[in-house]
């Protein structure tokens, strides 16, 4: 019996085209940002790292919001697709968060003179990364599919609610003791580069989430098929 699985390539032609287009767009936006932005008076060409760092940070919050919304959707509808989507967004979000932290650290060393500082945003971001990792760890520890979906949805929701409180707490923690430096106003040439790259990163995120989601669906279908075969249920439709 033929099911949808037979006609569901993980990486169809349109997705590959999308991938290359996204990559080309990213290269173009980076080139534009580099071209139009003069070297910063203090940082020099170091500011170029911000065209990856800042959009990465923005899009990782988009990813986290996706996890939150998809988690709620799963608990309401009990459709496994929402769970698979949340997991895909969480995986890409974790990579983006890790990358942003790493790049920030590389930027911080020559600019601030330290690899790490107990700054509210860095700390919030680190906690965000830890919450992402614990979300993925939970998923890898739970074998039962339905249970994994319910549990990780709960963890995704609680984790999302926690992030603004983390930010508030570490901000007070720092400001009650010392003055906090505020980001100075940014010149137009820098803003254009940032905004363009924010879109580039959003597209990169979307491409990877789509690719990851398709793979997750196929894995889910194969798993269900295998279970049915083991139980002798025969070929049932899944997803």
């Amino acid at each position: 019996m033929k099911t949808w699985l037979a006609n569901y390539p993980v990486r169809p032609r349109w997705l590959r085209i999308l991938g290359w287009s996204v990559f080309a767009f990213f290269v173009a936006t980076q080139a534009i940002a580099w071209k139009i932005s003069p070297p910063d008076r203090d940082m020099g060409h170091l500011e170029k790292i911000l065209y990856v760092h800042v959009p990465g940070a923005w899009v990782s919050f988009v990813a986290f919001t996706c996890v939150f919304v998809a988690s709620i959707m799963y608990l309401i509808t009990r459709d496994i697709k929402h769970d698979l989507f949340a997991a895909s967004a969480a995986e890409i979000g974790t990579v983006l968060t890790g990358m942003t932290l790493g790049l920030g650290s590389i930027w911080g060393r020559p600019t601030w003179g330290v690899w790490w500082t107990w700054d509210p945003r860095i700390l919030t971001y680190t906690v965000l990364l830890l919450i992402f990792i614990s979300y993925l760890a939970l998923r890898s520890f739970v074998d039962d599919e339905d249970r994994r979906a319910r549990w990780s949805a709960a963890v995704g929701i609680i984790g999302f609610l926690d992030v603004p409180i983390v930010y508030m707490s570490v901000k007070w923690w720092r400001t009650l003791h010392q003055m906090q430096s505020t980001p100075s106003t940014i010149a137009r040439e820098y803003i254009i580069g940032m905004d363009l790259n924010a879109f580039a990163f959003l597209f990169i995120f979307l491409y990877f989430v789509i690719a990851r989601y398709r793979a997750a669906r196929v894995m889910h279908a194969v798993e269900s098929r295998r279970e049915d075969a083991a139980l002798g249920v025969g070929e049932a439709m899944h997803v």
Partner: protein, 226 residues
């Protein structure tokens, strides 16, 4: 007393009775907590002033490290002999199971603290006077938030392999604001609270407790169902 309230208290009482009869878990957690308190002393001492400065943070980390051992236990005993299935089959709202276990765990951790805090006062040479009374409120508010999420996450962690690792992995990142607020409030009170800093931290603790109590209360049903 409403039916739900009776149900909640029955579950809390059941858990506490089981604990009272064996005491194995309580003694273990208490001894472990005292041990951590001593180990921190060895690591940070012997300078008495340095120890006193660090004491608020040390006390809270001790409570977190010790308490995290207690939560899995409260579900593990349900897993033996399929007791959890029986518990789920009882009529009534499953949220009562969460609140019942929450109360039992709260009593457990607070009792550990009752014995632990005097020990910290002695070991770290902390001042004891009426001005310090608000610290008890910090301890209560912080413990409520801690136990709320601990009881919630343990409902999942206790039922997978590597439960000892998974629970702190899930729990500690979300506890960061609670740890910061509780430690800072305690420190502010210990140093006389001349700036009135502790009010902001009290507010944060209350907000934290309320948000996660509500969120866990409603999410628990999805976590416990089979």
């Amino acid at each position: 007393m409403g039916r739900e309230t009776r149900r909640i208290l029955a579950i809390a009482l059941k858990d506490l009775t089981a604990e009272r009869r064996t005491k194995a878990n309580f003694n273990g957690v208490l001894f472990f907590a005292v041990l951590i308190l001593l180990m921190f002393g060895f690591a940070l001492g012997p300078d008495a002033d340095a120890l006193r400065d660090a004491s608020a943070g040390v006390l809270w980390l001790t409570v977190l490290f010790g308490g995290v051992l207690a939560f899995n236990r409260s579900y593990e005993m349900e897993l033996e002999n399929g007791a959890l299935d029986a518990l789920l089959m009882y009529p009534g709202d499953r949220k009562s199971i969460y609140l019942g276990k929450l109360i039992a765990n709260l009593a457990f951790v607070l009792l550990v603290e009752v014995l632990l805090v005097p020990m910290a006062v002695v070991l770290y040479n902390l001042p004891v006077n009426p001005r310090m009374a608000p610290v008890l409120l910090v301890l209560l508010l912080g413990t409520i938030g801690f136990v709320t999420l601990g009881t919630f996450y343990a409902a999942m962690a206790s039922r997978v392999r590597a439960r000892e690792v998974l629970l702190p992995l899930l729990l500690f990142p979300v506890l960061v604001p609670l740890l910061v607020a509780a430690v800072q409030a305690t420190r502010a009170i210990m140093t006389g609270d001349v700036m009135g800093d502790s009010h902001a931290w009290f507010k944060l603790l209350v907000v934290y407790d309320v948000i996660f109590l509500v969120a866990s209360y409603f999410a628990f049903e999805y976590v416990i169902e089979e």
